[in-house]
Assembly symmetry: C2
Homo-oligomer: 269 residues x 2
């Protein structure tokens, strides 16, 4: 969790704090996935609270990978993933939180955002899509919006998948060299890559402004994929544990219902 | 797959055609889940076709179970489950296919419907919510709608989870007797259960009218959960295999891009 001023270049993307190696990570992740499934079951049954996981990161940081490796723990009936791309004409005709709000999780649901409203302060800052004064208001708007969600029963977890520039180079190279990965290669990524430092700075500002007690930002060292998956699973699991979810207590008149069930069965069969 | 007149009481819900026992089913299911993941990857990468799986069945037939046991094979990023409940005021103010159409799968997606537009001919018939003449038009409207989806690139698979009345009795009893399952008990299910034969007949009519070459209905013997999961996985897998999905061929100018990648890396680092 990060609070206050953040310097991303002082956080090592290859670090693996609290975990020795890949093998230990695999064993721990397997247990966490089971636990996530059990916790989501209670969240879903309770129909009162919800969870929103925001994933951000530079291109190739592993947002898709985390979803494939960790979010598959969840029953898809109660989990919805939304990938935010360039706004459609309809989306662009609304305020920047409009498209976000309409896919916020309903009670009982887990929502995962692959990119999010943070693009509207990060990419928007890098490409100067907004006057600086408007950008500043956006940070406040985000904080107000997230506080509103939190007060309405939604737990927010925001993870930044932190990779090094060298690791991104390696991953883009792999996509180029392996023909079966060509469909994933986006020529626009190369242009974005030249803005690396601008993006880093824009993220640092977003964390400083928008990592709050009710909606914290976590910076996940992500050069090692096995650590990245473990860390996200642990954070999400911790957030769900902290919600103290219980199966709803329903008071049924079991005797009457049972008589009704048997009686009617006797008539109809 | 069913075509023409169907008599559900002649189809044994305890049957396990083509599979000896639970152990064999588990081994085969595990392989199918891996295959489903691989096929969905290609569907997602291709961004041209899509898959729509419709699940129907009496209460407790196992729609939720199939989603939990089989649909977890899919990457949640490309799979969306929609549970259709009693229509909201807004939904009821539109034609019955409106709420269905808006959650039809986009290119590259898998959509799973837990209940569907078939409630609008089945429950609607049982409870006489519509004049018979309107109901008749609905079957045609469904066929036209499903043909349109098929022609637009969506593969439709419709599965009816077929349980016996005795098995439903058993499952409702379990929900009553186990306090941690009380939250799943819906007192309305007991009333619906008295309409068992009406529902059966309504389904038979729906299959006869709406099991088409382009959008077939499958009746899945579902008293044994292990067989039900295996059968649905096999049918969905078969449907995806038949789509002959290939990774898109993208022609990249690898040399130029690679130079660009390395050149820019050299400048920025």
């Amino acid at each position: 969790m990060v609070r206050g001023a953040v310097r991303l270049d002082r956080l090592d993307p290859r670090a693996t704090p609290g975990c020795r190696d890949k093998r230990e990570a695999a064993a721990r992740l397997a247990r966490l996935l089971e636990r996530l499934e059990a916790l989501q079951y209670r969240l879903y049954a309770g129909q009162r609270r919800s969870l929103l996981l925001v994933l951000q990161g530079m291109d190739t940081a592993g947002k898709d990978g985390v979803i494939r490796k960790v979010m598959t723990a969840f029953n898809p009936q109660g989990c919805r993933v939304t990938s935010f791309k360039r706004p459609t004409a309809e989306e662009a005709a609304h305020d920047f939180l409009w498209r976000i709000h309409r896919v916020a999780p309903a009670a009982g649901e887990v929502a995962v955002f692959n990119r999010s409203h943070y693009e509207d302060v990060v990419a928007a800052r890098v490409h100067a899509l907004q006057p600086r004064a408007d950008l500043k208001r956006r940070y406040d708007a985000i904080n107000d919006f997230e506080r509103h969600l939190e007060q309405s029963g939604t737990k927010l977890v925001k993870c930044f998948l932190h990779i090094s520039r060298a690791e991104q180079h390696q991953r883009l190279l792999e996509r180029l060299e392996q023909p079966h990965k060509h469909w994933k290669f986006n020529e626009g990524d190369l242009a974005e890559r030249t803005r690396w430092n601008d993006y880093r700075r824009a993220y640092e500002i977003a964390f400083e402004r928008c990592s709050t007690a009710h909606a914290p930002w976590y910076v996940i060292p992500s050069d090692r994929k096995w650590y990245r998956d473990l860390a996200v699973a642990e954070i999400v699991c911790g957030a769900l544990e902290a919600m103290d979810l219980k199966l709803p207590e329903v008071s049924l008149d079991v005797r009457t219902l049972r008589a009704e069930l048997d009686g009617r069965a006797a008539v109809g069969t």
